[in-house]
């Protein structure tokens, strides 16, 4: 049976990138539809009326939204190269760390990025606490998934690209190889994995985009 798989994404969305990686890891053929966030297509609005965001996966005409939900759908639908472990407790832990990444890591890193001076120093405290939890989770493992890339690696994968870019923009080392050796090594190993490496968004574009975001946020905050 022919499978029709389409992915609505933007060129830079780290959430959509999770889906690109998952589809590539499983060897699933798909069509990409690039969205312009300032001018969303009628299709996107039709397929994700609640949030109107990317990514959206369309499988045989049926839409699935929210990247972690999409990852689980992909894992349950295409059984090759499993992303989640089999054991229920290990699955629960994988879901926990993925959620931790979205609920805590993202926000705390962003806080460091959009602040300056003393406020930035203060924002580093919770960011480091959160990153230390990830460091602890990597003990004895190459990837969060163990020997191979798994669900948590895909969920946290944005760190391997974005951290370096943000550090360059603000001139601040966030993931220090001495303080967070395992996380640093993971960023390298994950970032260098062929499927991952081939799909990073254009570096120059990302630097421009995030520099502009930072400037705009700081300007708005000082009004």
């Amino acid at each position: 049976m022919g499978e029709e798989v389409k992915l609505f994404r933007t060129w830079s969305s780290p959430f959509a990138l999770r889906i690109v990686w998952a589809l590539r890891i499983k060897g699933i053929e798909y069509e990409t539809i690039f969205e312009d966030i300032s001018n969303k297509s009628p299709s996107l609005l039709q397929y994700n009326p609640v949030h109107r965001k990317v990514p959206v996966l369309l499988h045989n005409g049926r839409p699935i939204a929210e990247s972690l939900v999409i990852l689980e759908y992909i894992d349950e639908t295409w059984k090759q190269a499993p992303l989640l472990p089999v054991d229920p407790h290990e699955r629960a832990m994988a879901r926990f760390w993925a959620k931790f990444g979205d609920d805590k890591i993202l926000g705390s890193i962003w806080s460091v990025f959009i602040k300056q001076g003393k406020e930035q120093e203060e924002a580093m405290v919770p960011a480091m606490e959160n990153l230390k939890f990830l460091e602890g989770e990597l003990k004895g493992k190459k990837f969060f998934g163990g020997e191979t890339i798994g669900f948590v690696d895909l969920a946290l994968g944005w760190l391997a690209n974005l951290i370096g870019l943000l550090e360059e923009i603000v001139g601040l080392k966030v993931v220090d190889g001495e303080k967070l050796p395992l996380l640093s090594a993971w960023m390298q190993d994950f970032g260098d994995a062929p499927i991952i490496k081939d799909n990073w968004p254009a570096r120059d574009g990302m630097i421009l985009k995030f520099q502009a975001l930072r400037d705009a946020t700081i300007a708005a905050a000082s009004k």
């Binding site: 699935i64 229920p88 629960a92 879901r95 959620k99």
Partner: protein, 219 residues
């Protein structure tokens, strides 16, 4: 070997209630421990060092945290009785989507209603009603969000129903007036013993919040 199940909980937590419902649905015996959130037990800090929050399910000594993750865990381990999620991946994805929607909206908006006033409160009320209307639309004509059977999304949302009276009192509005089908659904859910035995009385929640408001100086 008999399963040892413990739940670290707090009586008024909508998140703890979800786990209670799931455990009862599966017919499981468990020990419930009420935490003092102002003086968290060493066990809680050991079992949930990252968030230090309840609920935490401890199954044969291993902790599981975050209520949607706990409910999925329970559904996966005890899969032969009262399944909460469909076996179909697309239905499962829809259920997870709506549970995520509920988690991102209802708690924060409801909380804003009883902790704020004036324009902030009005904005929270308006947004809460919009979200509840969207959920009511998703329910449609089905008896439950899960279809014919009570399921994952029902568990995720019904635990807020005992907080509705509190939101309505302090916000001075009626959820039933704008979402009658949703309120009918809550009543249908309350007919299930798993739900009625897991939710505290709405008035008790209201009185508790009244005390909290006095304590925090919110008029």
């Amino acid at each position: 070997m008999a399963d040892e199940i413990m739940l670290l909980d707090w009586w008024s937590s909508m998140f703890g209630m979800r786990v209670r419902i799931a455990l009862v649905e599966k017919g499981l015996k468990y020990e419930s421990r009420e935490e003092d959130l102002n003086n968290k037990s060493p066990l809680l800090l050991e079992m949930n060092p990252v968030h230090r929050k309840i609920p935490v399910l401890i199954h044969n000594g291993k902790p599981i945290c975050e209520s949607p993750i706990i409910v999925e865990y329970i559904d996966e381990v005890w899969k032969d009785k009262s399944p909460l999620l469909s076996t179909d991946p697309y239905q499962r994805a829809q259920a997870r989507f709506w549970a995520d929607y509920i988690d991102n909206k209802i708690f924060q908006l409801g909380g804003k209603i009883w902790t704020s006033k004036g324009e902030d409160q009005e904005a929270a009320k308006k947004e809460l009603m919009e979200c509840l209307k969207i959920l009511e639309g998703e329910l449609g004509e089905k008896p439950f969000f899960g279809g014919e059977n009570f399921g994952f999304v029902d568990v995720s949302l019904v635990t807020f129903s005992c907080w509705f009276y509190t939101y309505e009192s302090f916000g001075n509005f009626s959820i039933e007036a704008e979402c009658p089908k949703l309120i009918a659904w809550t009543k249908r859910c309350l007919q299930k013993s798993s739900v009625s035995s897991s939710l505290p009385d709405s008035l008790k929640i209201h009185d508790f919040v009244l005390q909290l408001r006095k304590k925090f100086g919110i008029e």
